[in-house]
């Protein structure tokens, strides 16, 4: 658990972070969202003491981080940045092995772990291990960055706009892999972005920042249904509802029962991994009363406007389930 108490950072007369109280629970995916200059990166960098607060404190599992050695603290928090920061003088294998080597792991253990991590982020260790960072595409380099951050199995992952510099298609793929990895490994993630879509897709909790203050901290559904003020409402704009729908997939909502007469065969079909947004588009596009949700070849039930309304009213405990392609079947 990470907790900040009246956390403040001033640069001369400028207050970058202004008395922030924030609690990120274990296993939570927290997104620091806000316009540029809102203090989100400063906030993140105070968590691992790359920036020292002017006042206030950061507690990591209940202990004041001021009482810890910065290097030791940082090794327990994976760190991913937009420009990847891969070491160009080292192979991919050695890059990923960085923190385990700092921790003095045995060679065999490091080799096994590096292979495991590269596989986790979808890169073949035999192919990518010996490569140099300069031989990778932007997306591959970011995957290596994530593998490197996870290598020593830190309980926490700090990510500073990690997918900001890659093309939209790659970014979307990385976001889905990230969500899946986080769900699999149950890491506590603090993720900085200014991209609303990215925040809504990934976050269990969003902290919306403005001028160094947290305007609202809550699940995306909460920020949508119950915005704390005008700023929150305006920041997310009118599309937030659709964005929320993109967070959830059909496998996570209550479905209507199939008509017993077999007439469901005439209705449009959608795989259960489809998002609610896709289902809505299907309903509107085809003009059908409902769509049939399929698990492979097996029909699970029907989905209609009423089911959508129910899902959006009751959904919002903060857990998302819009996983990657083919990866959303776990409930």
């Amino acid at each position: 658990m990470i907790e900040t108490a009246r956390l403040t950072k001033k640069y001369g007369d400028f207050t970058a972070v202004d008395g922030v109280d924030l609690t990120v629970e274990d296993g939570q995916f927290a997104v620091l969202l806000g316009p540029s200059g809102s203090g989100k990166t400063t906030m993140l960098r105070m968590l691992n003491r790359m920036v020292e607060p002017t006042s206030g404190a950061v507690y990591f599992n209940g202990a004041d981080t001021q009482g810890m050695q910065p290097e030791v603290l940082r090794r327990s928090m994976g760190y991913v940045i937009q420009s990847t920061g891969l070491f160009p003088n080292m192979s991919i294998h050695r890059n990923v092995a960085t923190v385990p080597r700092l921790l003095g792991w045995s060679r065999a253990r490091i080799d096994a772990r590096v292979g495991e991590m590269l596989e986790l982020v979808g890169l073949d260790p035999a192919v990518y291990g010996p490569k140099r960072p300069s031989q990778l595409s932007g997306g591959e380099a970011q995957r290596v960055g994530v593998a490197r951050a996870l290598a020593a199995d830190p309980p926490v992952l700090l990510m500073d706009e990690p997918f900001g510099a890659v093309d939209p298609l790659t970014r979307e793929r990385l976001q889905h892999s990230m969500k899946q990895i986080q769900r699999e490994l149950k890491k506590t993630v603090v993720f900085v972005t200014h991209d609303i879509d990215e925040a809504v897709l990934l976050a269990d909790r969003i902290a919306l920042l403005r001028a160094g203050r947290v305007e609202q901290f809550g699940a995306p559904e909460e920020l949508w249904r119950d915005p704390a003020n005008e700023f929150v409402r305006d920041f997310f704009g009118e599309n937030l509802g659709l964005r929320i729908m993109a967070r959830h997939c059909l496998s996570s909502v209550e479905l209507g029962s199939l008509p017993t007469d077999g007439s469901w065969r005439d209705l449009p079909h959608l795989p259960e991994e489809s998002t609610l947004k896709e289902a809505l588009a299907e309903l509107v596009g085809t003009g059908a009363q409902s769509v049939v949700v399929m698990q492979g070849d097996r029909p699970l039930g029907t989905f209609d406007f009423a089911a959508l309304t129910t899902a959006l009213r009751h959904g919002g405990d903060g857990s998302t389930d819009a996983g990657g392609p083919g990866g959303a079947a776990d409930g």
């Binding site: 030791v72 920061g85 960085t98």
Partner: protein
């Protein structure tokens, strides 16, 4: 065809590597031949300067002159490397930062003073011999080392450094694992510049009785004997070229982590 292009690129890289090491070996062989094959080298000098009575400087043998030349170069280079490295390193520390420009300017200034003038100035203190020329060469050699240490370390990608800090490397670990390896090609460039300058400039040693390949050059100048001048100049040139080639990286990816 990408595969074809890749193969061609690898082939051209292999060709470059062969050519590079071939030239290094040839320059080394030429230097050694001139130094040790007295009969062969004098035949060459006779060929180049047909009207010369004697072609080899009689006072000292070439192996001895070469040894003196190498000694002067090595002594000056080691000292310059140490001073340049320490000053450059200091300029990069938090305490040294305010002195960075001052240090660089002093290094620049040292290079503007003619070496002969430096030697003339220090001879009253040191007397004749190796010391004045070593001091002059050190004053020349510190700047390239100093500048390249600073440029190399400052040129390390901020992202790589940020990641190194964020992953929990101590300042010493950052220096050894990230900053020095990344700065190494630039620092090596400085070392190369210094060595090439020093190995040529060490011929000045003859003026202050420190020996070296400058002695036959000076003698040839006195006696109007071009063969003597070539006897000193040719091995000095091939030696400088050899060091230059040897320390020039082949292709781009010279430094590898391990």
């Amino acid at each position: 065809m990408p595969a074809d292009r890749g193969a061609r690129r690898m082939a051209s890289r292999a060709t470059r590597t062969v050519l590079h090491w071939g030239s290094v070996a040839a320059l080394l062989a030429a230097t050694l031949w001139m130094t040790f094959d007295t009969a062969g080298f004098s035949a060459l000098l006779h060929l180049l300067v047909p009207d010369a009575q004697t072609v080899l400087y009689a006072t000292r043998t070439l192996p001895r002159l070469m040894a003196e030349q190498l000694y002067l170069t090595a002594a000056a280079s080691v000292i310059a490397l140490a001073i340049g490295g320490v000053l450059g390193g200091f300029a990069l520390t938090v305490t040294g930062k305010p002195f960075r420009d001052l240090i660089v300017n002093v290094g620049n200034l040292a290079q503007t003073v003619p070496s002969v003038a430096i030697m003339a100035l220090v001879i009253p203190l040191t007397g004749y011999g190796a010391e004045p020329v070593v001091i002059a060469l050190v004053m020349y050699g510190v700047l390239p080392i100093l500048l390249n240490v600073i440029a190399g370390i400052e040129g390390v990608s901020p992202a790589a450094l940020d990641a190194a800090v964020g992953m929990g490397m101590s300042p010493a670990q950052r220096l050894v694992r990230v900053q020095l390896p990344l700065a190494w090609p630039v620092i090596l460039g400085g070392i190369k510049n210094m060595l090439v300058i020093n190995v040529s400039a060490a011929t000045l040693g003859a003026v202050v009785a420190a020996g070296g390949l400058g002695m036959p050059i000076l003698a040839g100048f006195h006696d109007y004997n071009n063969a003597f001048i070539l006897e000193g100049a040719l091995p000095s040139i091939t030696l400088a070229l050899f060091l230059d080639r040897l320390l020039t990286p082949v292709g781009r990816t010279m430094t590898q982590g391990e």
